[in-house]
Protein backbone atom coordinates (compact mmCIF):
# COMPACT_ATOMS: atom_id res chain seq x y z
CA UNK A 1 0.00 0.00 0.00
CA UNK A 2 1.27 3.45 -0.90
CA UNK A 3 1.81 6.09 1.79
CA UNK A 4 0.18 8.76 -0.37
CA UNK A 5 -3.62 8.94 -0.34
CA UNK A 6 -4.00 11.75 -2.82
CA UNK A 7 -1.69 13.29 -5.35
CA UNK A 8 -2.81 16.19 -7.54
CA UNK A 9 -0.38 17.53 -10.16
CA UNK A 10 -0.94 20.70 -12.20
CA UNK A 11 -4.72 20.39 -12.20
CA UNK A 12 -6.40 22.84 -14.56
CA UNK A 13 -10.13 23.08 -15.11
CA UNK A 14 -12.16 25.34 -17.35
CA UNK A 15 -15.96 25.18 -17.60
CA UNK A 16 -17.50 24.95 -21.10
CA UNK A 17 -18.13 28.71 -21.07
CA UNK A 18 -14.35 29.23 -20.86
CA UNK A 19 -14.33 30.28 -17.20
CA UNK A 20 -11.12 28.86 -15.70
CA UNK A 21 -11.65 27.83 -12.07
CA UNK A 22 -8.51 25.80 -11.38
CA UNK A 23 -5.22 27.09 -12.79
CA UNK A 24 -2.65 24.45 -11.83
CA UNK A 25 -3.41 22.95 -8.43
CA UNK A 26 -0.75 20.74 -6.81
CA UNK A 27 -1.53 18.95 -3.56
CA UNK A 28 -0.38 15.78 -1.83
CA UNK A 29 -2.08 14.14 1.15
CA UNK A 30 -0.41 11.37 3.11
CA UNK A 31 -2.43 8.40 4.36
CA UNK A 32 -4.28 9.25 7.59
CA UNK A 33 -3.70 13.01 7.29
CA UNK A 34 -6.54 15.45 7.92
CA UNK A 35 -6.13 18.54 5.78
CA UNK A 36 -8.39 21.58 5.54
CA UNK A 37 -8.89 23.11 2.11
CA UNK A 38 -9.65 26.75 2.85
CA UNK A 39 -10.76 29.40 0.45
CA UNK A 40 -13.33 32.12 -0.13
CA UNK A 41 -16.59 31.52 -2.01
CA UNK A 42 -15.95 30.87 -5.68
CA UNK A 43 -12.32 29.81 -5.16
CA UNK A 44 -12.97 26.47 -6.86
CA UNK A 45 -13.02 24.27 -3.75
CA UNK A 46 -16.05 22.20 -4.80
CA UNK A 47 -14.80 22.03 -8.40
CA UNK A 48 -11.56 20.57 -7.05
CA UNK A 49 -13.52 18.00 -4.99
CA UNK A 50 -15.45 16.86 -8.05
CA UNK A 51 -12.16 16.08 -9.81
CA UNK A 52 -11.12 13.75 -7.03
CA UNK A 53 -13.73 11.13 -7.95
CA UNK A 54 -13.84 11.78 -11.68
CA UNK A 55 -17.21 13.56 -11.85
CA UNK A 56 -15.36 16.41 -13.58
CA UNK A 57 -12.54 15.79 -16.04
CA UNK A 58 -9.44 18.00 -15.85
CA UNK A 59 -8.50 20.19 -18.79
CA UNK A 60 -4.88 19.43 -17.85
CA UNK A 61 -3.02 17.76 -15.01
CA UNK A 62 -3.47 14.51 -13.14
CA UNK A 63 -5.14 13.22 -9.98
CA UNK A 64 -4.07 9.98 -8.32
CA UNK A 65 -5.88 8.31 -5.43
CA UNK A 66 -3.64 5.87 -3.54
CA UNK A 67 -1.55 5.58 -6.68
CA UNK A 68 -4.48 4.92 -9.05
CA UNK A 69 -4.94 7.65 -11.68
CA UNK A 70 -8.44 9.10 -12.00
CA UNK A 71 -9.30 7.89 -15.50
CA UNK A 72 -12.58 6.66 -17.03
CA UNK A 73 -11.47 3.01 -16.90
CA UNK A 74 -10.91 3.24 -13.11
CA UNK A 75 -14.03 5.21 -12.18
CA UNK A 76 -15.75 2.45 -10.19
CA UNK A 77 -12.70 1.86 -8.01
CA UNK A 78 -11.96 5.60 -7.73
CA UNK A 79 -15.51 6.26 -6.50
CA UNK A 80 -15.08 3.57 -3.88
CA UNK A 81 -11.82 5.13 -2.73
CA UNK A 82 -13.03 8.74 -2.65
CA UNK A 83 -16.10 9.42 -0.50
CA UNK A 84 -17.55 12.90 -1.02
CA UNK A 85 -20.01 14.27 1.53
CA UNK A 86 -21.87 17.10 -0.18
CA UNK A 87 -22.94 20.31 1.48
CA UNK A 88 -26.70 19.70 1.52
CA UNK A 89 -27.50 16.34 3.13
CA UNK A 90 -30.84 16.30 1.30
CA UNK A 91 -28.88 15.95 -1.94
CA UNK A 92 -27.00 13.00 -0.51
CA UNK A 93 -29.90 11.14 1.12
CA UNK A 94 -32.15 10.23 -1.78
CA UNK A 95 -33.51 6.80 -0.83
CA UNK A 96 -36.73 6.02 1.10
CA UNK A 97 -34.95 5.06 4.36
CA UNK A 98 -31.57 5.73 5.97
CA UNK A 99 -30.71 2.02 5.64
CA UNK A 100 -31.38 2.01 1.89
CA UNK A 101 -29.34 5.17 1.48
CA UNK A 102 -26.31 3.79 3.28
CA UNK A 103 -26.63 0.50 1.40
CA UNK A 104 -26.74 2.30 -1.98
CA UNK A 105 -22.97 2.76 -2.36
CA UNK A 106 -21.82 -0.68 -1.13
CA UNK A 107 -24.59 -2.35 -3.17
CA UNK A 108 -23.23 -0.59 -6.26
CA UNK A 109 -19.90 -2.18 -5.35
CA UNK A 110 -21.59 -5.57 -5.52
CA UNK A 111 -22.17 -6.27 -1.83
CA UNK A 112 -25.33 -8.19 -0.95
CA UNK A 113 -26.92 -10.01 1.99
CA UNK A 114 -25.18 -10.16 5.35
CA UNK A 115 -22.00 -8.45 4.14
CA UNK A 116 -24.12 -5.47 3.07
CA UNK A 117 -26.05 -5.46 6.39
CA UNK A 118 -22.76 -5.47 8.32
CA UNK A 119 -21.45 -2.54 6.28
CA UNK A 120 -24.64 -0.54 6.94
CA UNK A 121 -24.59 -1.28 10.69
CA UNK A 122 -20.90 -0.38 11.02
CA UNK A 123 -21.36 2.93 9.18
CA UNK A 124 -24.41 3.84 11.28
CA UNK A 125 -22.56 3.04 14.51
CA UNK A 126 -19.55 5.10 13.39
CA UNK A 127 -21.72 8.23 13.14
CA UNK A 128 -23.78 7.53 16.27
CA UNK A 129 -26.99 6.71 14.41
CA UNK A 130 -27.38 3.03 15.29
CA UNK A 131 -31.10 2.46 15.74
CA UNK A 132 -32.07 5.01 13.09
CA UNK A 133 -31.70 2.64 10.12
CA UNK A 134 -35.39 2.48 9.31
CA UNK A 135 -36.06 6.20 9.74
CA UNK A 136 -37.16 8.24 6.77
CA UNK A 137 -34.38 10.80 5.99
CA UNK A 138 -36.70 13.82 6.18
CA UNK A 139 -37.73 12.80 9.71
CA UNK A 140 -34.15 13.22 10.99
CA UNK A 141 -32.84 16.50 12.39
CA UNK A 142 -30.44 18.47 10.19
CA UNK A 143 -27.44 17.38 12.30
CA UNK A 144 -28.53 13.74 12.08
CA UNK A 145 -28.97 14.06 8.33
CA UNK A 146 -25.45 15.47 8.00
CA UNK A 147 -24.10 12.52 10.00
CA UNK A 148 -26.19 10.06 7.94
CA UNK A 149 -24.65 11.64 4.82
CA UNK A 150 -21.18 10.92 6.26
CA UNK A 151 -22.31 7.32 6.92
CA UNK A 152 -23.38 6.88 3.29
CA UNK A 153 -19.77 7.32 2.17
CA UNK A 154 -18.15 5.61 5.18
CA UNK A 155 -20.07 2.48 4.16
CA UNK A 156 -17.95 2.39 1.01
CA UNK A 157 -14.81 2.19 3.20
CA UNK A 158 -13.11 5.03 1.33
CA UNK A 159 -9.41 5.73 1.18
CA UNK A 160 -10.13 9.43 1.51
CA UNK A 161 -13.14 11.27 2.88
CA UNK A 162 -13.91 14.64 1.29
CA UNK A 163 -16.30 16.84 3.26
CA UNK A 164 -17.75 19.91 1.56
CA UNK A 165 -18.58 22.57 4.19
CA UNK A 166 -19.53 19.99 6.83
CA UNK A 167 -20.21 22.55 9.56
CA UNK A 168 -22.58 24.76 7.53
CA UNK A 169 -26.07 25.26 9.03
CA UNK A 170 -25.25 23.15 12.10
CA UNK A 171 -26.01 24.35 15.61
CA UNK A 172 -23.04 24.37 18.03
CA UNK A 173 -23.89 20.98 19.59
CA UNK A 174 -24.25 19.33 16.17
CA UNK A 175 -20.94 20.89 15.07
CA UNK A 176 -19.20 19.40 18.08
CA UNK A 177 -20.86 15.99 17.62
CA UNK A 178 -19.77 15.88 13.99
CA UNK A 179 -16.23 16.99 14.90
CA UNK A 180 -16.02 14.25 17.55
CA UNK A 181 -17.09 11.67 14.98
CA UNK A 182 -14.59 12.90 12.37
CA UNK A 183 -11.91 12.89 15.05
CA UNK A 184 -12.52 9.20 15.69
CA UNK A 185 -12.26 8.09 12.05
CA UNK A 186 -9.15 6.35 10.83
CA UNK A 187 -9.25 7.71 7.30
CA UNK A 188 -7.58 10.45 5.26
CA UNK A 189 -9.77 13.55 5.34
CA UNK A 190 -9.92 16.58 3.07
CA UNK A 191 -12.12 19.14 4.82
CA UNK A 192 -13.38 21.84 2.46
CA UNK A 193 -14.49 24.86 4.42
CA UNK A 194 -14.28 28.56 5.11
CA UNK A 195 -15.13 27.90 8.75
CA UNK A 196 -11.61 28.56 10.06
CA UNK A 197 -12.13 27.55 13.73
CA UNK A 198 -13.55 24.24 12.52
CA UNK A 199 -10.47 23.69 10.37
CA UNK A 200 -8.27 24.45 13.38
CA UNK A 201 -10.33 22.07 15.54
CA UNK A 202 -9.94 19.17 13.14
CA UNK A 203 -6.90 19.61 10.94
CA UNK A 204 -3.26 20.01 11.75
CA UNK A 205 -2.51 21.09 8.21
CA UNK A 206 -4.37 23.49 5.94
CA UNK A 207 -4.03 24.70 2.39
CA UNK A 208 -5.58 27.86 0.95
CA UNK A 209 -7.08 27.72 -2.52
CA UNK A 210 -7.51 31.14 -4.05
CA UNK A 211 -7.75 32.26 -7.64
CA UNK A 212 -7.56 28.63 -8.78
CA UNK A 213 -4.17 27.83 -7.21
CA UNK A 214 -2.89 26.70 -3.81
CA UNK A 215 -1.42 29.88 -2.33
CA UNK A 216 -0.47 28.58 1.11
CA UNK A 217 0.19 25.21 2.70
CA UNK A 218 1.24 24.72 6.33
CA UNK A 219 0.18 24.09 9.89
CA UNK A 220 -3.38 25.39 10.37
CA UNK A 221 -2.48 27.43 13.45
CA UNK A 222 0.33 29.20 11.54
CA UNK A 223 -1.89 30.05 8.57
CA UNK A 224 -4.69 31.32 10.80
CA UNK A 225 -2.22 33.47 12.77
CA UNK A 226 -1.18 35.25 9.57
CA UNK A 227 -3.81 37.98 9.37
CA UNK A 228 -2.37 39.50 6.17
CA UNK A 229 -2.45 36.16 4.36
CA UNK A 230 -6.07 35.58 5.40
CA UNK A 231 -7.08 39.11 4.39
CA UNK A 232 -5.48 38.76 0.94
CA UNK A 233 -7.67 35.73 0.27
CA UNK A 234 -10.94 36.99 1.75
CA UNK A 235 -10.71 34.70 4.79
CA UNK A 236 -11.54 35.96 8.27
CA UNK A 237 -11.61 34.54 11.74
CA UNK A 238 -14.84 35.13 13.70
CA UNK A 239 -14.95 38.28 15.81
CA UNK A 240 -13.03 37.83 19.06
CA UNK A 241 -11.30 34.62 17.95
CA UNK A 242 -7.55 34.69 18.61
CA UNK A 243 -5.69 31.65 17.36
CA UNK A 244 -2.63 32.49 19.54
CA UNK A 245 -4.73 31.93 22.65
CA UNK A 246 -5.31 28.27 21.69
CA UNK A 247 -3.19 25.16 21.78
CA UNK A 248 -2.09 24.89 18.14
CA UNK A 249 -2.52 21.12 18.13
CA UNK A 250 -6.13 20.13 17.47
CA UNK A 251 -7.49 17.61 19.98
CA UNK A 252 -7.24 13.99 18.89
CA UNK A 253 -4.44 14.73 16.43
CA UNK A 254 -0.93 13.30 16.90
CA UNK A 255 1.91 15.72 17.56
CA UNK A 256 3.25 17.63 14.57
CA UNK A 257 5.05 15.38 12.14
CA UNK A 258 6.22 17.60 9.32
CA UNK A 259 3.17 17.52 7.10
CA UNK A 260 3.59 16.66 3.45
CA UNK A 261 3.85 19.79 1.34
CA UNK A 262 2.25 20.30 -2.00
CA UNK A 263 4.75 19.64 -4.76
CA UNK A 264 5.90 22.71 -6.62
CA UNK A 265 4.19 23.04 -10.00
Amino acid sequence: MTETSLEIQGLVHAYPDGQQTLRGVCLTLRRGERVALLGPNGAGKTTLALHLNGVLTPSAGTVRVAGLPVLPQHLAEIRRRVGIVFQDPDDQLFMPTVRDDIAFGPANLGLRGQALDRRVSAALSAVGLAGHADRVPHHLSFGQRRRAAVATVLAMEPEILVLDEPSSNLDPASRRELADILDGLDVTVLLITHDLPYALRLCQRSVILSGGVIVADGPTADLLADADLLARHRLELPYGFDVRMLDSRPPGQPPARDPARSSPC
Partner: protein
Protein backbone atom coordinates in the same frame (compact mmCIF):
# COMPACT_ATOMS: atom_id res chain seq x y z
CA UNK B 1 -36.83 21.63 7.71
CA UNK B 2 -38.21 18.26 8.63
CA UNK B 3 -41.20 18.15 6.31
CA UNK B 4 -44.73 17.15 7.12
CA UNK B 5 -44.39 13.58 5.95
CA UNK B 6 -47.28 13.89 3.51
CA UNK B 7 -46.03 10.80 1.75
CA UNK B 8 -46.67 8.35 4.57
CA UNK B 9 -49.79 9.92 6.04
CA UNK B 10 -51.96 7.08 4.79
CA UNK B 11 -49.98 4.36 6.55
CA UNK B 12 -51.39 3.21 9.91
CA UNK B 13 -48.57 1.52 11.83
CA UNK B 14 -49.62 -1.70 13.59
CA UNK B 15 -48.24 -5.17 14.09
CA UNK B 16 -50.69 -7.43 12.25
CA UNK B 17 -50.19 -10.28 9.81
CA UNK B 18 -51.54 -7.96 7.11
CA UNK B 19 -48.91 -5.33 7.90
CA UNK B 20 -46.15 -7.93 7.85
CA UNK B 21 -47.08 -9.28 4.40
CA UNK B 22 -44.49 -8.29 1.74
CA UNK B 23 -45.63 -5.47 -0.52
CA UNK B 24 -45.76 -7.48 -3.74
CA UNK B 25 -48.06 -10.09 -2.15
CA UNK B 26 -50.48 -7.38 -1.04
CA UNK B 27 -50.36 -5.67 -4.43
CA UNK B 28 -51.21 -8.92 -6.25
CA UNK B 29 -54.00 -9.71 -3.75
CA UNK B 30 -55.48 -6.20 -4.00
CA UNK B 31 -55.34 -6.20 -7.80
CA UNK B 32 -56.91 -9.68 -7.94
CA UNK B 33 -59.72 -8.64 -5.59
CA UNK B 34 -60.48 -5.46 -7.56
CA UNK B 35 -60.54 -7.44 -10.82
CA UNK B 36 -62.96 -9.98 -9.31
CA UNK B 37 -65.22 -7.15 -8.11
CA UNK B 38 -65.01 -5.47 -11.51
CA UNK B 39 -66.06 -8.67 -13.29
CA UNK B 40 -69.13 -9.23 -11.08
CA UNK B 41 -72.42 -8.65 -12.97
CA UNK B 42 -74.13 -5.58 -11.57
CA UNK B 43 -77.61 -7.17 -11.32
CA UNK B 44 -76.40 -9.75 -8.76
CA UNK B 45 -76.73 -7.53 -5.71
CA UNK B 46 -76.02 -10.32 -3.24
CA UNK B 47 -72.54 -10.84 -4.77
CA UNK B 48 -71.49 -7.33 -3.79
CA UNK B 49 -72.61 -8.11 -0.26
CA UNK B 50 -70.27 -11.10 -0.43
CA UNK B 51 -67.38 -8.94 -1.63
CA UNK B 52 -68.06 -6.36 1.08
CA UNK B 53 -68.07 -9.14 3.69
CA UNK B 54 -64.68 -10.41 2.48
CA UNK B 55 -63.25 -6.89 2.57
CA UNK B 56 -64.70 -6.35 6.07
CA UNK B 57 -62.69 -9.38 7.24
CA UNK B 58 -59.53 -7.80 5.78
CA UNK B 59 -60.31 -4.45 7.43
CA UNK B 60 -60.84 -6.17 10.77
CA UNK B 61 -57.64 -8.20 10.47
CA UNK B 62 -55.67 -5.06 9.61
CA UNK B 63 -57.24 -3.31 12.64
CA UNK B 64 -58.26 -0.30 10.60
CA UNK B 65 -60.81 1.78 12.58
CA UNK B 66 -64.10 2.00 10.67
CA UNK B 67 -64.14 5.78 11.19
CA UNK B 68 -60.79 6.06 9.38
CA UNK B 69 -62.10 3.92 6.53
CA UNK B 70 -65.28 6.02 6.19
CA UNK B 71 -63.38 9.30 6.37
CA UNK B 72 -60.96 8.21 3.66
CA UNK B 73 -63.84 6.93 1.51
CA UNK B 74 -64.96 10.53 1.05
CA UNK B 75 -62.33 10.76 -1.68
CA UNK B 76 -64.79 9.03 -4.05
CA UNK B 77 -67.62 11.53 -3.47
CA UNK B 78 -66.93 13.65 -6.60
CA UNK B 79 -67.18 10.52 -8.74
CA UNK B 80 -70.38 9.43 -7.04
CA UNK B 81 -71.94 12.84 -7.74
CA UNK B 82 -71.77 11.92 -11.43
CA UNK B 83 -73.26 8.49 -10.73
CA UNK B 84 -76.23 10.05 -8.90
CA UNK B 85 -77.13 12.01 -12.03
CA UNK B 86 -77.30 8.90 -14.22
CA UNK B 87 -80.84 7.70 -13.24
CA UNK B 88 -82.15 11.16 -14.17
CA UNK B 89 -80.28 11.51 -17.44
CA UNK B 90 -80.24 7.99 -18.92
CA UNK B 91 -82.96 6.96 -21.38
CA UNK B 92 -84.95 3.69 -21.63
CA UNK B 93 -87.61 2.11 -19.39
CA UNK B 94 -88.46 4.28 -16.40
CA UNK B 95 -89.80 3.55 -12.93
CA UNK B 96 -91.48 5.89 -10.50
CA UNK B 97 -89.63 6.41 -7.19
CA UNK B 98 -91.20 8.88 -4.71
CA UNK B 99 -93.01 10.48 -7.59
CA UNK B 100 -89.87 10.97 -9.69
CA UNK B 101 -89.37 9.04 -12.94
CA UNK B 102 -85.99 7.33 -13.02
CA UNK B 103 -84.31 5.31 -15.78
CA UNK B 104 -83.88 1.63 -14.87
CA UNK B 105 -80.64 1.39 -16.86
CA UNK B 106 -79.42 4.61 -15.21
CA UNK B 107 -80.21 3.20 -11.75
CA UNK B 108 -78.26 0.04 -12.53
CA UNK B 109 -75.34 2.07 -13.90
CA UNK B 110 -75.31 4.25 -10.79
CA UNK B 111 -75.39 1.18 -8.54
CA UNK B 112 -72.59 -0.40 -10.57
CA UNK B 113 -70.38 2.66 -10.11
CA UNK B 114 -71.30 3.10 -6.45
CA UNK B 115 -70.66 -0.54 -5.48
CA UNK B 116 -67.51 -1.13 -7.52
CA UNK B 117 -65.93 2.24 -6.76
CA UNK B 118 -66.58 1.89 -3.04
CA UNK B 119 -65.12 -1.63 -2.95
CA UNK B 120 -62.14 -0.56 -5.11
CA UNK B 121 -61.37 2.53 -3.05
CA UNK B 122 -61.76 0.55 0.18
CA UNK B 123 -59.28 -2.02 -1.14
CA UNK B 124 -56.70 0.68 -1.85
CA UNK B 125 -57.34 2.21 1.60
CA UNK B 126 -56.59 -1.18 3.20
CA UNK B 127 -53.46 -1.53 1.04
CA UNK B 128 -52.20 1.98 1.88
CA UNK B 129 -52.99 1.64 5.58
CA UNK B 130 -51.05 -1.60 5.93
CA UNK B 131 -48.12 -0.95 3.56
CA UNK B 132 -45.60 1.84 3.96
CA UNK B 133 -44.30 3.49 0.83
CA UNK B 134 -40.95 1.77 0.92
CA UNK B 135 -42.62 -1.66 1.00
CA UNK B 136 -44.90 -0.57 -1.82
CA UNK B 137 -41.86 0.38 -3.94
CA UNK B 138 -40.21 -2.93 -3.03
CA UNK B 139 -43.39 -4.73 -4.08
CA UNK B 140 -43.50 -2.95 -7.44
CA UNK B 141 -39.80 -3.70 -7.92
CA UNK B 142 -40.41 -7.38 -7.23
CA UNK B 143 -43.31 -7.37 -9.66
CA UNK B 144 -40.82 -6.28 -12.35
CA UNK B 145 -42.10 -2.74 -12.87
CA UNK B 146 -39.41 -0.95 -14.96
CA UNK B 147 -36.58 0.29 -12.73
CA UNK B 148 -36.80 3.83 -14.14
CA UNK B 149 -40.43 4.17 -13.02
CA UNK B 150 -39.52 2.89 -9.54
CA UNK B 151 -36.70 5.43 -9.34
CA UNK B 152 -39.02 8.28 -10.38
CA UNK B 153 -41.61 7.24 -7.78
CA UNK B 154 -38.94 6.86 -5.12
CA UNK B 155 -37.61 10.39 -5.77
CA UNK B 156 -41.14 11.81 -5.78
CA UNK B 157 -41.71 10.33 -2.34
CA UNK B 158 -38.33 11.45 -1.02
CA UNK B 159 -38.40 14.99 -2.38
CA UNK B 160 -42.14 15.78 -2.32
CA UNK B 161 -41.84 17.23 1.17
CA UNK B 162 -38.79 19.29 0.27
CA UNK B 163 -40.50 20.78 -2.76
CA UNK B 164 -43.61 21.58 -0.70
CA UNK B 165 -41.42 23.29 1.90
CA UNK B 166 -39.65 25.24 -0.84
CA UNK B 167 -43.03 26.35 -2.22
CA UNK B 168 -44.07 27.38 1.28
CA UNK B 169 -40.89 29.44 1.78
CA UNK B 170 -41.39 31.18 -1.55
CA UNK B 171 -44.99 32.05 -0.60
CA UNK B 172 -43.82 33.50 2.72
CA UNK B 173 -41.10 35.48 0.92
CA UNK B 174 -43.70 36.90 -1.50
CA UNK B 175 -46.17 37.78 1.23
CA UNK B 176 -43.45 39.29 3.43
CA UNK B 177 -42.93 41.85 0.70
CA UNK B 178 -46.58 42.77 0.52
CA UNK B 179 -47.78 40.43 -2.23
CA UNK B 180 -51.43 39.36 -2.07
CA UNK B 181 -52.92 37.14 -4.78
CA UNK B 182 -56.22 38.99 -5.26
CA UNK B 183 -57.13 38.50 -8.88
CA UNK B 184 -55.89 37.56 -12.33
CA UNK B 185 -53.41 40.48 -12.43
CA UNK B 186 -51.24 38.62 -9.92
CA UNK B 187 -50.91 35.57 -12.17
CA UNK B 188 -47.59 36.71 -13.75
CA UNK B 189 -45.96 36.85 -10.30
CA UNK B 190 -47.21 33.37 -9.45
CA UNK B 191 -46.09 32.09 -12.85
CA UNK B 192 -42.58 33.43 -12.25
CA UNK B 193 -42.57 31.74 -8.82
CA UNK B 194 -43.49 28.44 -10.44
CA UNK B 195 -40.66 28.98 -12.95
CA UNK B 196 -38.18 29.71 -10.16
CA UNK B 197 -39.37 26.62 -8.30
CA UNK B 198 -38.86 24.52 -11.41
CA UNK B 199 -35.29 25.79 -11.78
CA UNK B 200 -34.52 25.09 -8.12
CA UNK B 201 -35.94 21.56 -8.35
CA UNK B 202 -34.01 20.97 -11.56
CA UNK B 203 -30.78 22.13 -9.90
CA UNK B 204 -31.44 19.88 -6.93
CA UNK B 205 -31.94 17.03 -9.38
CA UNK B 206 -28.50 17.73 -10.80
CA UNK B 207 -26.92 17.78 -7.34
CA UNK B 208 -28.63 14.52 -6.37
CA UNK B 209 -27.39 12.98 -9.60
CA UNK B 210 -23.84 14.07 -8.72
CA UNK B 211 -24.19 12.48 -5.28
CA UNK B 212 -25.45 9.28 -6.91
CA UNK B 213 -22.58 9.21 -9.41
CA UNK B 214 -20.14 9.72 -6.54
CA UNK B 215 -21.41 6.55 -4.91
CA UNK B 216 -21.07 4.37 -7.97
CA UNK B 217 -24.42 4.93 -9.74
CA UNK B 218 -24.23 3.77 -13.35
CA UNK B 219 -27.88 4.00 -14.40
CA UNK B 220 -29.48 1.09 -12.55
CA UNK B 221 -30.49 0.99 -8.91
CA UNK B 222 -28.78 -1.78 -6.96
CA UNK B 223 -32.16 -2.84 -5.56
CA UNK B 224 -33.56 -2.10 -2.16
CA UNK B 225 -33.06 -4.56 0.68
CA UNK B 226 -35.83 -7.03 0.06
CA UNK B 227 -37.84 -9.56 2.02
CA UNK B 228 -39.17 -12.64 0.24
CA UNK B 229 -42.65 -14.04 0.84
CA UNK B 230 -43.15 -17.52 2.30
CA UNK B 231 -45.84 -19.81 0.77
CA UNK B 232 -48.10 -19.38 3.82
CA UNK B 233 -48.12 -15.61 3.24
CA UNK B 234 -49.05 -16.06 -0.40
CA UNK B 235 -51.82 -18.50 0.57
CA UNK B 236 -53.21 -16.17 3.24
CA UNK B 237 -53.17 -13.11 1.00
CA UNK B 238 -54.53 -14.82 -2.11
CA UNK B 239 -57.46 -16.26 -0.15
CA UNK B 240 -59.15 -12.85 -0.52
CA UNK B 241 -59.07 -12.54 -4.33
CA UNK B 242 -59.79 -16.27 -4.75
CA UNK B 243 -62.87 -16.04 -2.56
CA UNK B 244 -63.96 -12.91 -4.46
CA UNK B 245 -63.38 -14.72 -7.78
CA UNK B 246 -65.58 -17.59 -6.52
CA UNK B 247 -68.33 -15.11 -5.63
CA UNK B 248 -67.99 -13.46 -9.06
CA UNK B 249 -68.14 -16.85 -10.82
CA UNK B 250 -71.25 -17.84 -8.84
CA UNK B 251 -72.85 -14.51 -9.77
CA UNK B 252 -72.18 -15.14 -13.45
CA UNK B 253 -73.72 -18.61 -13.35
CA UNK B 254 -76.91 -17.14 -11.85
CA UNK B 255 -77.22 -14.18 -14.21
Amino acid sequence: MTGVGYADRLYLPADTAMHRLPGHVKLVAALGFVLAVGCTPREQFWAFGGHAGLLAIAVARARIPITVLLRRLTVELPFLAFAILMPFLASGRRVEVLGVGLSVTGLLDAWNILAKATLGVSTSIVLAATTNLRDLLLGLERLRLPSLLIQIMSFMIRYGDLILAETHRMRIARESRGFVARDVRQVPVLARSVGALFIRVYERGERVHLAMLSRGYTGGMPGLLQTAAVPAQWAGALALPLAAATVAAAAWTRS
